[in-house]
Each structure stands twice: as C-alpha cells, then as structure tokens.
C-alpha cells in the first residue's frame, strides 16, 4: 500500500511538471505551427539561469521564475517575429513551413545548447533547496512546492485562454489563422505571443525542476522528447490533452521507475509508439 501511494504521489508530482513542459510545446505547434525541437533547450536555460542567479546574487529559486519566464518570453517573441515569420512568408505551403521551421529549430538547438556550454560548461550541476521531507510519506518539500506552482500556473493559464480577449484570439488562431485574421485578430502578434509563451513555460518548468533534479547543459533533448510524447499523446495542439497526457506519463514514469529504473526511457518510447499507431490523433484530438 505504501508503495502504491508513493508511486501515485511521485507520478502526480512528475506529471504536473511534464504537463507544464508540454503545454508550451503544444502551444507552439498548435497555434504557431512550429514543431520546436529546441523546446527542451529553453528548459535547460531556465534551469541554469535559476542556478546561476542563486549562486551569484543568492536569489530564491522560486522568485527567479519571475525573471526566467519573462526573459524566455521576450526571446521567443523576437525569434518568431524575425526567424519564423520570415520562414512562414517564404514557404509555399503549411507542410513546407512545418518542415523548414522544424529544421530551423534544430539549428536553434545547436546554438542555444552550445552558447550554454560556453557560458556554464558541461558538468552536472545542482543545489539543495527545501529538501526536507514531509513526515509519513517520502515526499520532498521542493517537489510539493513545484507542484503547487504548476497547479497555480496551469489554472492562471487556463483562465487566460478561456476568459481574456487575447486568449480568445489565440484559440481562434489555432482553429483557423485566416479566419481569425478576417475577424480582426493581429495574427502575426498572436503567433509571436504564442511562441513566446511556449518558451516562457519551458523556462519556468526548467527553473522549477532545477530545485530537485541535477542539471546539465545537454539535458534539453531528453525533455524535448518527453514533451513530444506527451503532446502526441494528448493530441497535437490540444492544451487539455497535454495536461492529461503529462499526468499519465508522470504516473507511467513513476511506476516503471519503481519496478525497473533502467527501463524508464524505453517505456516512454514504447508507449509513445504504440499510442501513435493506435490513436495518432491523441486523447483529445478531433
């Protein structure tokens, strides 16, 4: 029973984080149509910025979210306005744009990862923060705090999409960019905002996970894969799907890790491939 409880709790904690990572990716693909292979690199940058701010000005890791998130948003906004927008205009069709933008994001992966390596080196880093456990269960406090942040952020984000004007514009653009434009949506701004928001969520996730995971400048690709698995699981472009998918993958991860830790990665891919073959449109796909 205690084993089951631990698996469940660890899974939920991890799942929340996976959901946060994946919502960013699904936003980039679902609205801006960029399958961002460099997504995980911004998780890494978020994690390292938090680590660096803690080391240099001893800023509380939880407060550093207020810096890493907006900074990543600005970078994403500018990236879309310059790079991806140009690619969009030079591509004859959406399929071609998807291919080209993915390759460009692969270039971005190299640039970001290597800049980070030059700045922060390639060693495994980490720090301890709120690592006391709550009595009775094996739940470290830092993970619980991270989950609380994920829930609050997720709720705020959901409210933003469902209730605000900009959120409505984003949802409209996801359904049909051209119709949204005809209805008076500033489509170029909306796409850039979505891409920026995606990166901001990635960086925030990175900052949060640095409070309990070891970090390394090469860690990005692993998270990109997790995000892709979750996003396909939930249905490309579906935000609710990404959240559900994240929780499911978190539970799978904690279950497999409990019984056979070295099979965790394989389990991800097997689930991913089986799901892709059985239901390519994903849980919430239409």
């Amino acid at each position: 029973m205690t084993a089951l409880r631990d698996i469940l709790i660890t899974g939920l904690l991890l799942g929340g984080l996976f959901a946060l990572v994946s919502v960013g990716l699904t936003l980039q693909y679902g609205v801006a149509r960029v399958l961002n292979v460099a997504h995980g690199e911004f998780i890494m940058v978020g994690a390292f910025l938090t680590f660096w701010l803690l080391g240099s000005v001893s800023l509380n890791p939880l407060l550093s979210l207020a810096i890493t998130g907006p900074a990543a948003f600005i970078v994403g906004f500018i990236l879309h306005k310059t790079l991806f927008r140009r690619l969009m205009h030079s591509s004859p069709s959406l399929d071609i744009f998807e291919g080209r933008s993915m390759l460009a994001s692969f270039g971005l992966l190299y640039v970001v990862q290597n800049l980070a390596r030059i700045i922060w080196g390639s060693d495994v880093e980490g720090y301890t923060f709120l690592n006391s456990t709550i009595t009775g269960a094996q739940i470290p406090l830092n993970r619980l705090v991270a989950l609380a942040f994920v829930v609050v952020l997720g709720g705020a984000f959901y409210f933003f999409l469902a209730r605000t004007r900009l959120g409505k514009a984003i949802r409209a653009s996801a359904q049909s960019p051209s119709t949204a434009q005809l209805m008076g949506v500033e489509i170029n701004n909306v796409l850039a905002i979505c891409f920026g928001l995606g990166l901001a969520l990635a960086a925030i996730a990175g900052s949060l996970l640095s409070t309990f995971f070891a970090i390394q400048t090469t860690m990005g690709l692993g998270y990109t894969v997790i995000a892709m698995v979750v996003v396909v699981m939930g249905g490309l472009g579906s935000i609710t799907g990404a959240m559900i998918g994240g929780i499911i993958l978190g539970l799978v991860s904690s279950t497999v890790t409990f019984f056979h830790p070295s099979l965790t990665m394989i389990a991800y891919y097997v689930i991913f491939i089986v799901l892709l073959l059985a239901r390519p449109k994903g849980i919430m796909g239409k």
């Binding site: 080209r100 270039g107 640039v111 290597n114 698995v229 990665m265 394989i266 891919y269 991913f272 491939i273």
Partner: protein, 317 residues
C-alpha cells in the same frame, strides 16, 4: 528541332562530365592518400545518406528522421560480424537487413501522415538507441563493441561503389513506375490512390529501398572506428544532417543533394578545424541562415539569380 539537338548536346556534355568525375574519384587513391581521402570518405558517406534520404522523402514529402536507425543498424551488423565474414558480404548483409527492418517499420507507420510520421521516426531512433543500450547492459554487460578495421583505401572504394550504386538506383527509381507513383503521392495522396496506385505498397517499398543504402553506409563507416556504442551508432545528428544537406543543396534533382552533402561536409570540416570550440554553434547558425536565405537550396538560389540575370519570365521548374 533546334531545341532537341541542344538537349542531346547538353545531355552529352553532362554524361562526359560525369564520366570524368567518376574516373577521377576512382583513381584518386592511386594519387593521393591521408587527409584528402579521409575527407572524401566523409563526403561520400553523407552523399550516400542524403541521396538515400531523397529517394523516399524527396518525392513523397514524408520527412523521415529514421536515417540514424538504419545507419546504426549497419554499425551493429559490422560490429557483430566483422572478422568472421568478408567486408563485401558484411556490406551486403547490412543492406539486406536494413531493407527488411525498413519494410516492417514502413508497413507499421506509413499510414501516419505528415508531422506524425516525422515525430514517429524521430522517436524510433531514440527507442532503438535505448533498447540496444539496455540489451547490451543485460546481455553482454558492456556499453560498446569493437569493430575490426579495414584499410583506408578499402573503405574509400567500398563507399565509392555504394555511392555510385545509390545514385544509379536513385535515378532508376525516380524514372520507374514506383518513382512516378511516389511523386503523385507527394502531390496528392487521395488522388493517387483513386487513380489506381497502391499507395501503401509504393511508400513501403521505396522507404525500404532508401534504407538499404543507409545500412550499407553504416557498415562501411563502422570499420573506420575501432569502438562503437549506441550513442555513436544511433545519433540523431545522422538523421538530421541528410535532411539539411538535401535542403542546403536543393531537392529538385539529384545534383542538389550531392552538392549539398559535399559543401556541407566541407564547411563542417573547416569549422571543426578552425574553431573546434565553436563548431557546433557556428553549425547551428549556418543552418538557420540557410533556412532563412536559401530555402530552395544552393541550386534554387543559383537558378533564381540566373533567371533574374536573364530577365526571362520562365516559370520556375
């Protein structure tokens, strides 16, 4: 009439140029050795991978990132069988196994469309990498394997022959029923199906054919290294680079991918020797810039400039 004569003369010149290039490449190990030969092996390797990739993904528009899976399979065939069977048989075996594996993978996945297929092939490479890693950990209790090496000249001739084979097959497939069928699938899959093309079979067969050359290249290049492990064999870069090289060169015909592979490998080599620390960073910058400023590849860029200079209003080819 004039036009037809012009075309046959053009074709003659092209063939003569090809023959000269072929002779130079075939005789090169007699004249030179060392660095140039090593560089050429690298270029030919990427040319094989790129042209192999273009055979399927060029006309069909299905962007495959599975190259590393078949290339890595070739690596492991070489690691398991090197020393016990002749080099030529080894290469053949790698080609055949890649074909069979690709048939299976293709039959399972080619009903996925567009970006789903791409994501699947992306995950496939990482799945195979992790499975091999785990199998080695449990069964052999090591991470890597040793491969018996072959002389540089031997490797050069092997990859050269495979390169010629790849290009010839690419041309033949392109002109065959399957090539044309694949082209029409790329243009409109439903329409192709309705006009009587066996869509699934065409895709699976061409996908498997393109994998043959990737596996062969893997088996040959594996002998350049003494030690391989799953991270070296199933490296995602091997999947992405051919796509980039094809795009860099331009995919309109087969000259583009070969040119792209040669130029990209050479640029990579220069960056690696001049700025070993910044190599990957600069590589990323080159990649982004080439996507931005020459989305149709170098050949597309050259054609665009040529058209502008002539001032003609010919429709783009």
């Amino acid at each position: 009439m004039m036009k037809a004569k012009q075309m046959t003369r053009d074709k003659g010149i092209t063939l003569a140029l090809l023959a000269v290039a072929f002779l130079i490449l075939a005789l090169l190990p007699q004249i030179t050795s060392g660095y140039i030969l090593t560089l050429l092996i690298d270029i030919l390797k990427f040319a094989v991978l790129t042209v192999g990739w273009v055979i399927f993904s060029g006309p069909s528009g299905y962007m495959s990132l599975a190259t590393a899976a078949f290339y890595g399979l070739g690596f492991y065939i070489a690691a398991v069988f090197s020393g016990s069977i002749p080099f030529s048989l080894l290469i053949l075996l790698a080609g055949v196994s890649s074909f069979v594996v690709a048939l299976g993978v293709g039959a399972l996945t080619l009903r996925l469309r567009g970006v789903y297929f791409t994501i699947f092939t992306f995950a496939l490479v990482l799945l195979v990498q992790n499975v091999v890693l785990e199998v080695e950990r449990v069964v052999t209790q090591t991470r890597g394997r040793f491969v018996e090496t072959v002389s540089t000249e031997g490797v050069y001739y092997a990859i050269f022959i495979v390169f010629v084979l790849t290009v010839v097959s690419a041309v033949l497939i392109r002109r065959s029923r399957y090539g044309l069928a694949l082209q029409s699938i790329g243009e409109h899959e439903e329409a192709a199906a309705h006009s009587g093309i066996n869509v699934v079979w065409t895709k699976v067969l061409t996908f498997a054919s393109s994998a043959v050359f990737m596996g062969m290249a893997g088996a040959i290049i594996a002998t350049r290294r003494t030690y391989i492990d799953p991270y070296i064999a199933f490296n995602l870069n091997t999947s992405f680079l051919p796509v980039l090289m094809a795009m860099f060169g331009g995919m309109g015909n087969l000259v583009g991918p070969v040119l792209g592979a040669a130029l990209f490998t050479y640029i990579g080599e220069i960056l690696l020797t001049r700025f070993p620390d910044l190599y990957m960073l600069l590589f990323g910058v080159v990649l982004i810039l080439s996507m931005l400023f020459m989305p149709n590849g170098i050949l597309g860029l050259a054609q665009g400039i040529w058209r502008k200079m002539k001032g003609g209003g010919r429709a783009p080819a």
